[in-house]
C-alpha cells in the first residue's frame, strides 16, 4: 500500500478543453478518498490520469513517492474498478480474476490461492466457473472488485462503480466496499457524483467543480464548514438554502424582505452593511414561536418522506426548503429559526465562505 500524491496536475485535451486545471492532492497511505463532483468536473479524468489511461498535460503524479507520469498503467501497480465492470465477457469469473496475475507471470498455485481468498472475501466462490453474463449486476460488481483485490496493488481506483446498480444494491455494496476497506486498509480513490456515497464512505472528500478542487476534508467537516457556495449546495440533501441579505449588526444578518437571523459573530469576518449570501440547511431550520425573532415562511407545498416532511416555500424573496419532523404545522405560513452556528455566510460575488480561517 502506498500514498498517492498529485502536484499541480493539469489536463488539456487536444481540442483545447481544459478538463483539470491544476490539482494538488495528497492521498495518505491506507485512506479512502472520494473525488466528488457533478458530471464534467474532471474527477474521472483525474482518476484516469492516476491510472495512466490518460496522459498528463503538466504536473506530476506520484505513487509511493515515485513519479509515474511516464510509467505504463500495468507497471503503476494499481487496480481499477470500472463503472460498467469491464469484465472479459468470454472468460469465466476465475479467469477474469486470474488474467492480470497470469500476465505478470505469477505462479499457478499463488494465483489459485489469491483467487480463492478474494472469492471467499467477496462471497463469489460459487460462481467461479460462470461467465459474467450469467451473473447479476451486484455479483459482477464483486467480480470486478475481486479482480482488483487479487492483484494486491498499491492503490485501488474506483470509477463510479455503483452507478449501474439499483438503489437498494447500491446501498448494500457501498457498505460492503467500506467494510472491505476497513479490512484491507488499502489506499483507495473513489470517484462518484453521489454525495451520499461520498459522505458515507470517505475518510476524506475532495469536492471538485469545473476542473478545480473546491474543498478537501473529512465528510463531517465538509458538511459543517463548506468552504464555498458550491460545496454548500452540492453536499447535503436537500441542498442548502441560500438567501440574499446583508449584515445588520454584530452577529445579526438581515434577509432581503424576510426578517433577521443571528449568526456566530466569532466565526465570520464581516462588517455591518456588507452584502452577503446567507446559507441555512433545510435540516437546521426549526419551527419557532412567533415573536422569537423568527423568519416568516410562506408554504407552497409539502413532500412527505416518512421520517421528515419537506416544506417548499419562500422566506422574503428567496425559495426555501425546510425539513421538519413531528406534527405538521397548521396554516400556510409559519415562523422559522435556526441556531446561530448553523448559519453560513458567503460572498455573493466569489461564492467563497466568509468564515475565518
Amino acid at each position: 500500500m502506498a500514498s498517492v500524491t498529485l502536484q499541480d496536475v493539469r489536463k488539456v485535451y487536444a481540442g483545447g478543453v481544459e478538463a483539470v486545471k491544476g490539482v494538488s492532492l495528497d492521498i495518505p497511505n491506507g485512506s479512502f478518498t472520494v473525488l466528488l463532483g457533478p458530471s464534467g468536473c474532471g474527477k474521472s479524468t483525474l482518476l484516469r490520469m492516476i491510472a495512466g489511461l490518460e496522459a498528463i498535460t503538466s504536473g506530476t503524479v506520484s505513487i509511493a513517492g515515485k513519479v509515474v507520469n511516464e510509467v505504463e498503467p500495468a507497471e503503476r501497480d494499481i487496480a481499477m474498478v470500472f463503472q460498467n465492470y469491464a469484465l472479459y465477457p468470454h472468460m469465466s469469473v476465475y479467469d477474469n480474476m486470474a488474467y492480470g496475475l497470469r500476465n505478470r507471470g505469477t505462479a499457478k498455485e499463488e494465483i489459485e490461492k489469491r483467487v480463492a481468498e478474494a472469492a471467499k472475501l467477496l462471497a463469489i466462490g460459487d460462481f467461479l466457473k460462470r461467465k459474467p453474463r450469467e451473473l447479476s449486476g451486484g455479483q459482477r460488481q464483486r467480480v470486478a472488485m475481486g479482480r482488483a483485490i487479487v492483484r494486491e496493488p498499491q492503490a485501488f481506483l474506483f470509477d463510479e462503480p455503483l452507478s449501474n446498480l439499483d438503489a437498494k444494491l447500491r446501498v448494500q455494496m457501498r457498505i460492503e466496499i467500506r467494510r472491505l476497506h476497513n479490512r484491507l486498509k488499502a489506499t483507495s480513490i473513489f470517484v462518484t457524483h453521489d454525495q451520499i456515497e461520498a459522505m458515507t464512505m470517505a475518510d476524506s472528500i475532495v469536492v471538485m467543480n469545473g476542473g478545480r478542487v473546491e474543498q478537501t476534508g473529512a465528510p463531517n467537516h465538509v458538511y459543517r464548514f463548506p468552504a464555498t457556495r458550491f460545496v454548500a449546495t452540492f453536499i447535503g440533501s436537500p441542498a442548502m438554502n441560500l438567501l440574499p441579505g446583508r449584515i445588520a449588526g454584530p452577529g445579526e444578518a438581515e434577509i432581503a424582505g424576510g426578517g433577521r437571523i443571528a449568526f456566530d459573530p466569532n466565526a465570520f469576518d464581516v462588517t455591518p452593511g456588507r452584502e452577503v449570501e446567507i446559507g441555512i440547511r433545510p435540516e437546521d431550520l426549526r419551527l419557532a414561536g412567533s415573536g422569537e425573532g423568527a423568519l416568516t415562511f410562506k408554504k407552497d407545498f409539502a413532500e412527505e418522506l416518512g421520517a421528515t416532511r419537506l416544506f417548499h416555500g419562500t422566506v422574503g424573496e428567496g425559495a426555501v426548503v425546510v425539513a421538519l419532523s413531528g406534527p405538521a404545522p397548521a396554516g400556510d405560513s409559519f415562523g422559522l429559526s435556526a441556531a446561530p452556528d448553523a448559519v453560513h455566510l458567503f460572498d455573493p460575488a466569489s461564492g467563497d465562505s466568509l468564515r475565518r480561517a
Binding site: A79, A86, L87, P89, H90, N103, R104, K131
Partner: protein
C-alpha cells in the same frame, strides 16, 4: 409482434412453399438426371423419378471422369475447389482482422488514409483489375498453382469493414482493463478481441467460403493444367458444344457434388450463426 389470426398463417406458408418449390425443383431434376443414363437424357425421355444408375454415375464422376472432355476425375476438382475456397476464406479473415485491428486500435500517421485506401478497393474486384493481376501472377510464376488461385483474391475490404464495425462496439473499458492487467496489444488481440470475434469469424467464414467455392473467372484464367481445375470450371468444360457428346448424367452428378460443400458449410455453421445472434456478450 406478429399478428395471430386463424387463416393469417396460410398465405405466408403458401408463399414460402411456392418459393421453396421454385428453388428446389431444378435441383431435384438435376438429381434425377444424375441417376439416369446418358441416352435417356439425350433422347428427352427423362421423367420425374430417379433412375437405377445412382452409384454407377457418381462413382464414375468422382473417380474416373468423363471420357473426352476433362481428363481428371471430379474428386481432384473438388479437392482443388476445396483448397481454394478454404485458403481464400481463411486468408481473407486473417488479413482483414489484423488490418481492422490496426486501423481501430492504433494511432499512426495516415491511419484514416490507410482505412480509406482499403475502403476504395471495394470498387476494384478481380474482374476490374483482371489483366494487371494476371500479368503479375504470371510474372511471379503463379500460374497453375494454389498460390495463384488464392492470393489475388484474398485482400478484402468488405471483411475489413465488417471487423472494423464490430471492433468499434467493443467497449473501451475492456482495453483499459487489459492495459491495467498487463496485456499489451498482442495479448489483448489474442485473449480478448479474437475470442469475442468468434461468432463474427464463423459468419464471415460461411460467406467467404461460398464466395471462394463459386469463383469462375479467375480460376479459368490462371489454371491451364487439368489437375489444377476447380469443379465450377469442370462443369463448364464437360458441356461440349456438340450436344450428343455431352455426358449429361455426369454433368448433373458433378453439379450435385458441387453443391454439397457449400451446403455442408452452411448447415454446420448454422449453429454458430444462431449462437452469435442469441449471445449478447459484450
Amino acid at each position: 409482434m406478429v399478428e395471430r389470426r386463424r387463416f393469417g398463417d396460410v398465405i405466408p406458408h403458401l408463399i414460402l412453399l411456392i418459393g421453396i418449390a421454385i428453388v428446389a425443383f431444378p435441383v431435384y431434376l438435376c438429381f434425377v438426371g444424375s441417376t439416369l443414363d446418358q441416352a435417356t437424357i439425350a433422347n428427352g425421355q427423362m421423367g420425374l423419378t430417379p433412375g437405377p444408375l445412382f452409384f454407377e454415375t457418381y462413382w464414375r464422376t468422382l473417380f474416373v471422369g468423363t471420357s473426352g472432355t476433362t481428363r481428371e476425375p471430379v474428386a481432384t476438382m473438388m479437392f482443388n475447389s476445396f483448397v481454394m475456397a478454404l485458403v481464400i476464406a481463411l486468408g481473407k479473415i486473417a488479413i482483414s482482422i489484423i488490418s481492422s485491428y490496426a486501423v481501430v486500435y492504433f494511432k499512426f500517421p495516415f491511419r484514416m488514409a490507410a482505412f480509406w485506401m482499403i475502403f476504395v478497393t471495394l470498387m476494384l474486384p478481380v474482374e476490374v483489375r483482371i489483366y494487371p493481376t494476371y500479368k503479375i501472377a504470371a510474372d511471379l510464376n503463379l500460374l497453375n498453382s494454389y498460390a495463384g488461385l488464392t492470393l489475388p483474391l484474398i485482400a478484402s475490404a468488405t471483411a475489413t469493414l465488417f471487423f472494423r464495425q464490430f471492433f468499434m462496439t467493443i467497449p473501451d473499458e475492456l482495453i483499459e482493463a487489459s492495459k491495467l492487467d498487463g496485456a499489451g496489444p498482442f495479448r489483448f488481440f489474442k485473449d480478448t478481441v479474437l475470442p469475442l470475434s468468434r461468432t463474427n469469424i464463423a459468419a464471415l467464414f460461411v460467406i467467404l467460403f461460398i464466395y471462394g467455392w463459386n469463383q469462375y473467372l479467375w480460376p479459368i484464367l490462371i489454371t491451364t493444367h487439368d489437375d489444377m481445375q476447380t469443379i465450377v470450371i469442370g462443369i463448364k468444360k464437360m458441356i461440349v458444344t456438340a450436344d450428343a457428346l455431352t455426358e449429361w448424367n455426369v454433368v448433373m452428378a458433378t453439379a450435385m457434388l458441387a453443391m454439397l460443400p457449400p451446403v455442408a458449410v452452411v448447415v454446420l455453421m448454422q449453429r454458430w450463426f444462431v449462437k452469435g445472434l442469441v449471445e449478447t456478450e459484450k
